[in-house]
């Protein structure tokens, strides 16, 4: 029994339409390559040719207009043993051009049969991306003005293993289809057809003038591209091996719980590149490991490496439900960008503590301000460590955590590429807070 279960006369196509003939030849080609129907999936696009899946006895998938290639790729990736054939029209190649090009680039192992009749038949003869220049359609009554899309060359220059153009009346079509279906990699056949409902009567196209059209458009029939076969990710189960990121170490619970006064909101306001978010994250990890609850919320512009970078941390003895910051208890200012984004310090509670750099002492703070010589800190600890050292300094100065407790907890940080530099930064912050070196305390105004 053939994989094609309908006779041409019983198909839904208009008299003289090439679709039925091409489907018959495709059926013979599929029968000829000897793949059982349960190992074939035909994915049909939308349009007249999109009705073809029902005439085949194999796995069939009929989805949305222009997206047939995406379903075919998903199916092939998951089931590399399947022969996946896409039946698409010239319209589908327009709305789905992106998928066509990218599937070729990915060297998806799918076989794309373009049933190209130069216009939209199902919807009434509108122009399509392959409509020849000057051709008449219902939406180009004075002749088409646009360059027709060469689908064969488009996929050829973008990774296809094989592309060829044939006219639907080619006596060798079955052999050519069979060869194409047997070629590994991304394969595309552009089959030129007659739409007897619209394009043929409007443009006096017939079987013999297809040759003239081919010459006129400089799109010759035959093999357009045959390259070395390189299979993409669809040919095996999964993407190419990636350089894996270091696995995230779960936070180990410490034995000693960090003594903590209650819900406290901490804000570090700096600039991109100051490692603000990672500094706050490390303190959050230490808090969680120490039996506390933490929530970290960052605020940054859509671009990276410039502009403000604000990171907020809430630490509490209880689960944190509300993760917003209304009135931070501790604010660390690291740059003018950060301060500008944070806004006026005058809105802070009198009990709040502000740490600010020596070159931008805040005039508007109603709370305790500690001035920190960031430049000196940078020289001593390194630029990458300033945020974490300053935050550590602030936590101790604010009386939130003792130097001893923080030191013990920090030493229990899991192994990682930055463990030692983080520890050094925390110790630098502790030293600063304990002996006041390079830091000048300023009483509230």
């Amino acid at each position: 029994m053939s994989i094609l279960t309908a006779k041409r006369a019983d198909m839904c196509y208009c008299p003289g339409c090439s679709h039925g003939m091409v489907l018959e030849q495709l059926g013979k080609a599929l029968d000829g390559i000897g793949v059982p129907p349960s190992r074939v999936c035909i994915v049909s696009d939308i349009g007249c040719i999109g009705t073809a899946d029902r005439y085949f006895s194999c796995h069939t998938f009929h989805g949305l207009h222009g997206r047939s290639i995406t379903y075919a790729e998903g199916i092939k990736r998951r089931n590399p043993e399947l022969l996946v054939v896409v039946l698409i029209g010239d319209g589908g190649c327009g709305i789905g051009t992106a998928h066509l090009v990218h599937a070729a680039r990915r060297r998806a192992d799918i076989k794309v049969i373009v049933c190209n009749n130069f216009n939209f038949g199902m919807t009434g003869g509108q122009h399509s991306p392959t409509t020849p220049m000057d051709a008449h359609t219902t939406t180009t009554p004075d002749g088409a003005a646009d360059q027709p899309l060469d689908v064969c060359r488009t996929v050829a220059v973008n990774g296809a293993a094989y592309s060829a153009r044939h006219d639907a009346f080619d006596p060798q079509m079955v052999t050519k289809l069979r060869d194409a279906l047997s070629t590994p990699g991304f394969v595309l056949l552009d089959i030129w057809e007659l739409c007897t409902a619209y394009f043929v009567p409007a443009n006096r196209l017939n079987r013999s003038s297809l040759d003239a059209l081919s010459i006129q458009l400089a799109m010759p029939f035959g093999v357009v591209h045959e390259g070395p076969v390189q299979l993409g990710a669809t040919s095996h189960n999964g993407a190419r091996p990636l350089r894996r990121r270091a696995p995230e170490a779960p936070v180990e619970e410490m034995v000693a719980r960090i003594p903590w006064p209650g819900r406290r909101e901490i804000c570090v306001a700096g600039s991109a590149g100051q490692r603000v978010r990672s500094a706050v994250g490390i303190i959050g990890e230490i808090a969680v490991a120490g039996g506390l609850y933490a929530a970290q919320q960052d605020d940054f512009p859509i671009t990276v490496r410039r502009g403000f970078s604000i990171s907020n941390l809430i630490v509490s003895n209880e689960p944190i439900r509300y993760t917003g910051l209304d009135s931070p208890d501790t604010v660390v200012i690291l740059s003018s960008d950060g301060l500008a984004r944070f806004g006026p310090l005058s809105r802070l509670k009198p009990s709040s503590l502000v740490v600010a750099p020596a070159d931008m002492p805040p005039a508007d703070a109603a709370s305790t301000v500690h001035i920190l010589d960031l430049k000196m800190l940078e020289r001593r600890a390194g630029k990458e460590s300033v945020a974490l050292a300053a935050l550590t300094y602030a936590l101790i100065k604010a009386g939130l955590v003792s130097a001893a407790s923080l030191n013990t907890s920090a030493n229990a940080l899991p192994a990682g590429p930055y463990r030692q530099s983080n520890l050094d930064a925390i110790i630098e912050g502790i030293t600063l807070a304990e002996n006041g070196r390079s830091a000048v305390d300023q009483a509230p105004p």
């Binding site: 998903g74 089931n79 439900r321």
Partner: protein, 388 residues
Amino acid sequence: MREFITGNQAVVRGALRAGCNYFAGYPITPASSILSDMVNAFAAGAGIAIQTEDEIAAIGQCIGAAMTGAKALTASSGPGLSLYSENIGLAQMGEVPLVIVNCQRMGPATGGATATGEGDVLFARHVTAGGYPLPVLAAADAASAYWLTYEAFNIAERLRTPVIVLLSKDISLTRQTVDLAAVPLSQRTDRPVASLDATYQPYNITGPDDTPLFSPIGGSQLVRFTGSIHDENGLLTTDRTKISRKLTHLRDKIMSHGEILAYVEWDCDADATTLIISYGLADGAARDAVKALRAGGAAVSHMTLYSLWPVPERAITDALSPRIERVVIPELNIGLYADELRRVIRHVPVQSIVRFDGGVISPQVIGEHVTCIGDLAMQAREVCACPS
């Protein structure tokens, strides 16, 4: 083991726990880390993850893969959900198990890529043409992002339907303290599979709320999949009886399972005259507000909705004890879900607290509104918490 992870990381963990083995996505803030984490999770071959040329290809590949038997996930933000739209309809019509995570951001179009907002709560339900229902879940924090993603897979498998899980930027990217091992999960569910049978019909159902038995594309029995209106064999039909049967089924298989899809948490005080109903990011503030109000001697009830669609109507009406005089709902949008509540709750006023500027609603704002008494406060339809 307690961990310090983002809502997006919790989504990935929930998906992997549920058996997700296919991911396709396109980068977008604030959902991108789900894409990169899935690529890393599957790098050794435990599944397939791919970055596609756009969101349309992402969901298209997921649908194709799901019909070969994969448990597929895609994740994006509002702009990407817009591009998923047509294919979500395909997944409904073709009855494809599929989980879609939408990490919401502020406003329409590009909106505020790094600002929070929860304006997609109606869009998620009405995301595609035709008007047929699909389950929509809303995470309130990292822990619920974990278990809701897990449950979304179970729902998707059991009912063969796309399921949308909503997060928002401040849930997606906020690191929170969670102990995933301590989060209770239901038993893992796989789609009902057809036995090998020469007469397999891919869309055969015994009743409108039944789920058709699955057989994979590529398996030994032939599968016919279509997004067009079809009969039990997956063939196009113009038979009104068959059309009605199919479309009634698309409605009923979701709506008749409304009770099992209703994830809510009810914190009841029998003396309460105010019921606060919250979901998403505003839920944490509502919980803190309730705690503070009770500490101040006020009686207040609270319900968290983790399921937005189908609307958990029975749970909501059950919470409306005779003493309840008003319902208050804080939302990070222009008051979208309040109107849904007004449809369900007819005899007492539903008052909105809204904010949509990228900021959050604080517990204080909710508390002040609840303690505000007098005719004006009781009759207020909406309070805006945006800075004026």
